[in-house]
């Protein structure tokens, strides 16, 4: 019985010793791994910092080169800032020019135009005077058949004709030209 107790105790001591050895090995391995990790971490940090420095130097170099091109950059920025408005104005202007030329071309000799306005729906309100009925007829004929180089007239309404003895004939005409709202570009 005594012998068996000693044997058990011996086994226990052996097991403890083995555990200690194993624990020691694991601890050493862990320390070694952590040291390795620390070195890797420091190296990576160092490498990344060096790369950052190189990138900063390159960026500074390119910034210098860009600064030397600032004159051309100024010009390009200036042009591009104005381009959008200029483009809009040119588009509107071309349309306006065509309308003005068409209205101008419609008027026969002797006619007087007090003004023309373009309302929100794109209709053009013409108002003016003609000296006689023949000129008014000529005006309406020109509206019916405008010249080839002018904008096509999609719709025309004579909204007012007034005449007093011995005075000129006053007229109001509403026109809808091609290329506007609902019209086709000629």
């Amino acid at each position: 019985m005594e012998v068996e107790l000693v044997k058990k105790q011996l086994q226990l001591i052996k097991k403890h010793r083995l555990m200690k050895i194993l624990g020691g090995k694991i601890l050493t391995g862990l320390i070694f791994f952590l040291a390795l990790f620390l070195v890797a971490l420091s190296s990576s940090s160092l490498l990344v910092n060096q790369a950052n420095q190189r990138l900063e130097q390159q960026a500074a170099l390119i910034k210098g080169q860009i600064s030397s091109l600032s004159e051309i950059e100024n010009k390009q920025t200036y042009l591009m800032a104005k381009l959008s408005s200029f483009k809009t104005l040119l588009t509107k202007q071309a349309r306006h020019q065509a309308i003005a030329e068409t209205v101008f071309g419609l008027l026969p000799q002797g006619a007087a135009l007090k003004g023309f306005e373009i309302n929100e729906s794109g209709n053009i309100q013409l108002s003016g005077t003609v000296p006689d009925w023949l000129t008014l007829k000529l005006l309406t004929e020109r509206i019916r058949e405008p010249r080839a180089e002018e904008l096509a007239i999609l719709k025309a309404d004579v909204t007012k004709v007034s005449y007093n003895q011995g005075e000129e004939i006053a007229f109001d005409i509403t026109l809808q030209l091609s290329g506007g709202k609902g019209g086709n570009e000629k």
Binding site: L55, A59, Q65, H96, V103
Partner: protein
């Protein structure tokens, strides 16, 4: 008891590891973020440099000069007067009755300003038509807003002699240039083929020289002694 001790040991190890490696890991993370940002910035800068190097200096210079004449940065009153009077002379028209409205200025969202003005021209029918056609292709940029025409004729007046009185209300435009270039990494705007087409219009405008008095007129010093004329 033994398990508790092991757990405590594990937690303690983690805390120690965190304290030891935390700052290092944090610094590495920051460096990597900075690295990504720097790479991106470098890419933008390289692209900007290549874009700027690719711009034709002479063409840009010409475009800017023409843009400033056609679509000026400041109120183009002197240029307008000069251009209109010279355009009228070109077509043998009598230019009169100019009416400026400098108070009617308001900037749009894009910073576009307009200057309204009216004037009268008298001449023959063809000349006025040609004047009108060229007006909107004359620098500075103008747009006819309203027209009133009086065509005076009679049975004994030929078409060539017909006197036309034209009253015009015109808008001229100007826009101040951008105040700054912005960030150095901001990309430079590239001209698209569509923009190129618009920019070619800058070379189709009639430009008249601005006539300004250059010689001093009158007496420079009002209180100077009058020199007697030499016999």
């Amino acid at each position: 008891m033994k398990n508790k001790r092991l757990l405590l040991l594990a937690v303690l190890s983690l805390v120690i590891a965190g304290l030891a490696f935390g700052p290092g890991l944090s610094r590495l993370k920051q460096s990597l973020t900075l690295n990504r940002q720097l790479k991106e910035e470098l890419k933008q800068l390289q692209f900007k440099r290549v874009s700027l190097e690719g711009i034709d200096r002479n063409l840009a210079d010409e475009r800017v000069k023409n843009m400033e004449v056609i679509f000026p940065s400041q109120k183009p009153v002197v240029q307008l007067m000069s251009a209109l009077s010279q355009l009228a002379v070109k077509y043998n028209l009598i230019f009169s009755g100019i009416n400026l409205q400098p108070g009617g200025l308001k900037a749009s969202e894009q910073g576009l300003n307009d200057l309204k003005f009216g004037f009268k021209v008298d001449g023959n029918f063809t000349s006025i038509l040609q004047f009108m056609k060229e007006l909107e292709r004359t620098a500075p940029l103008m747009k006819i807003d309203k027209i009133s025409l009086g065509i005076n004729t009679g049975p004994y007046i030929s078409e060539a002699q017909t006197l036309v009185s034209g009253g015009f209300e015109v808008n001229a435009y100007f826009q101040a240039p951008p105040k700054s270039l912005g960030n150095i990494t901001a990309p430079v705007a590239i001209v698209t083929p569509d923009d190129e087409t618009v920019l070619t219009n800058l070379f189709g405008f009639t430009q008249f020289p601005v006539i300004l008095p250059v010689a001093q007129v009158g007496k420079p010093d009002l209180f100077a002694a009058v020199q007697p004329e030499q016999p």
